[in-house]
Symmetry: C2
Subunit: 416 residues, 2 copies
């Protein structure tokens, strides 16, 4: 792979590799991933050197501390890329799974079989470990992957992609099963999003601007991994001890991720009892509230509609008191992003209405929003959490990187 290889050539190579990958045995794909893990470990020093160069350039350009943290690799992070590859190798192969099947009155045997999508494009920012994590899931599910990382991580990504390609080759698979797009201009990003006929599915992993650019520019099919403005609603019939544990866990266990809670809604009947206790338990979290929660808590800031709509990704939480379940559902459907929404209640009717009427990928009853994750759901791994409705919704595992093919077998049937 040469940085002068054009995007068109990369696409041709990826498509050719995809044809081989689609027919590859699970054993050869798993071997490829394990070899790639070995190569990453062997080459850890040079990966870390390259990362150091990326960091120096980034620091010279005065980027934010968060961006630097995302960009930084350590020996532990490199080791975890290698173990991630081995974990994915150990998962079951979704390819070939018979989803369903039946026989028609005329004797035709119909079945739907799971097959790879073909070429998956990943466009992402900063984090070089995405290079390895995403490639593992794509290869395991029989797809070739084109990785388009950011310019800030280019040296790290080159070393990691090169190690992954070496792993593929050692297993007899085409190196082009994994390719890195080294053109990192804004124009080349748009060109990447328009590689119709080459990319079967594009998955953006990044912030607002990236997602907006995909929606505006992409002509290839895509799955959006969007924001999580997640709510915890404490119902009148909630067990308040459980409610407290859930809001603390949902907000504080890892505030920077999409399945962290950003907003707390409390039924008016329990607000006076619950809110002061919640404030103490949420020590360190900045609260902003509506008029009614401020009347109870006194000294918290006022929440605007913008606050209620915002994914803080930080130790900040918006709070509102609602009159009833209807108001809670309405608030969630108005301000939520369709990610993960939780109710805490002992009332079976409230639970049923909330889970049915809230429009989100995941609705939870008496559980922390932090469980919305491919690993926690038992999917083995995840490539992201879809906030769209078509194709995949919620945590996306290996199956979501495949599609179905109808196989119809007859004995000479023709249509009357």
């Amino acid at each position: 792979m040469d940085s002068s290889t054009s995007l068109v050539d990369l696409g041709v190579n990826a498509r050719n590799a995809a044809r081989v990958l689609a027919l590859a045995s699970s054993a050869s794909k798993d071997d490829g991933l394990r070899y790639a893990a070995d190569v990453i470990e062997e080459r850890a020093p040079e990966i870390l050197d390259a990362n150091q160069e990326d960091l120096s350039v980034a620091e010279g350009q005065g980027v934010t501390a968060t961006a630097i943290d995302r960009l930084r690799l350590s020996e532990a992070r490199v080791a975890s890329m290698a173990s991630g590859l081995r974990e994915v190798a150990a998962l079951g192969d979704p390819v070939g799974e018979v989803i369903d099947g039946w026989v028609r009155p005329n004797g035709l045997r119909i079945r739907r079989v799971r097959v790879p999508l073909g070429v998956i494009g990943i466009i992402y920012e900063n984090r070089p470990n995405v290079t390895s994590d995403a490639a593992a899931l794509c290869v395991k599910s029989g797809n070739a992957v084109m990785l388009r990382g950011s310019s800030s991580a280019i040296r790290s990504n080159q070393r990691i992609a090169s190690a992954l390609r070496e792993g593929m080759s050692r297993s007899g698979l085409p190196a082009d099963a994994v390719s890195l797009v080294e053109m990192t201009t804004r124009e080349s990003a748009v060109e990447f999003m328009r590689m119709r006929g080459v990319i079967d599915c594009l998955i953006p992993r990044g912030g607002h601007d990236l997602v907006a650019s995909v929606i505006e520019n992409a002509t290839v099919p895509y799955v959006i991994d969007g924001d999580g403005n997640c709510h915890v609603y404490v119902d009148a019939a909630a067990d308040l001890d459980i409610a407290l544990e859930i809001i603390v866990n949902s907000k504080m266990q890892r505030p920077s991720v999409c399945n962290a809670a950003e907003s707390l809604l409390v039924h008016a009947r329990v607000a006076e009892e619950f809110l002061p206790v919640a404030r103490s338990a949420l020590a360190g979290v900045e609260l902003v509230g509506d008029a009614r929660s401020r009347a109870i808590l006194g000294d918290i800031g006022q929440a605007s509609d913008d606050d209620f709509a915002k994914e803080f990704l930080d130790l900040k939480l918006s709070v509102a008191v609602v009159d009833d379940l209807d108001s809670a559902i309405e608030h969630v459907n108005r301000f939520g992003t369709g990610h993960s929404e939780a109710i805490v209640t002992t009332d079976i009717r409230a639970a049923r209405r909330f889970t049915q009427e809230v429009d989100a990928a995941c609705v939870l009853v008496n559980a922390s929003t932090r469980f919305v994750d491919g690993g926690e759901f038992g999917l083995g791994a995840e490539i992201g959490i879809s906030t769209q409705k078509l194709h995949a919704r919620g945590p996306m595992g290996l199956r979501e990187l495949t599609c179905a093919k109808f196989v119809v077998e007859g004995d000479g049937q023709v249509r009357k």
Copy 2:
């Protein structure tokens, strides 16, 4: 519904209706569809009058005979719209189906439940019966539908949509479950394709230009119902009597539809025996062939690459002789549109390789391509045949108009 209603207002009304539809019982949706069938029958004379006006205008503008035929309603076609509504009412409701479910080691109960998409947009050309057929499937699956037909059919569509809305109202459902977009300019089509936040899924039903415009302009999620350049490959090990029946049925039973065969590939070992017989049986079909098929058949026209890539939708067929199964698969993957591809063979290895290596929504062994259809597959009905890979691939029934929601139930679990 008033023709001055703006697209934005229509969208708001459709979203409000979608919330009601999503929670509506199967009984009330089915009643709505049956009432709509009654109203269509009651108002058949005025629907036919309106259609006559559309036809007069179209004839005055000198449109093609095919377009006129598609636009034309008859008493029989109106009766068939009504019976179509009743047939959809009689189908099972996909909403609420539990797709799968499991329990995690920590006791969390996870299940995926089928829910409506929300608002479905249909953009289509000429045929006024699409108004009724598409609306039936959307309502049955709990979705509101925004119908954007062509200006040529506007009067017919207005009467049909009005009857459908009356049926919804009689069942106590919002009339806005079905709305007709009466703005039919090219600009309003693009505006319709960009109603993000309103339309959850757009399905274009029309030709190349419409599909190309959706791919270029749409910011809403969509499913493409694309071309069918379908092949029948007669293998060296084919039963030639069966092969003959299948190519005749695939090509001639209804040549104007997407699942009709457009290309015949014959293994060199059986070409001299099969092709002359096939030509006789395909009397009335214009054949164009490659050099080797012309050497056998003598007087047929030469097929260019454009011919091999073309969906004729007519009594025309491209023919090629191939050296082996590899060449057949390569030809299909090069020229096919990923719709429906058939092999005729008695060789289990050839059947396996063809079904596995051909990249298409549907692959058939010893059966006519004409079976690729929601009704023939037993899906009850179809809204189209997807040639894309994400969300739906192949015939789309009611389930393809839904998505999944994760419902997670716990007892106070928090993440460690």
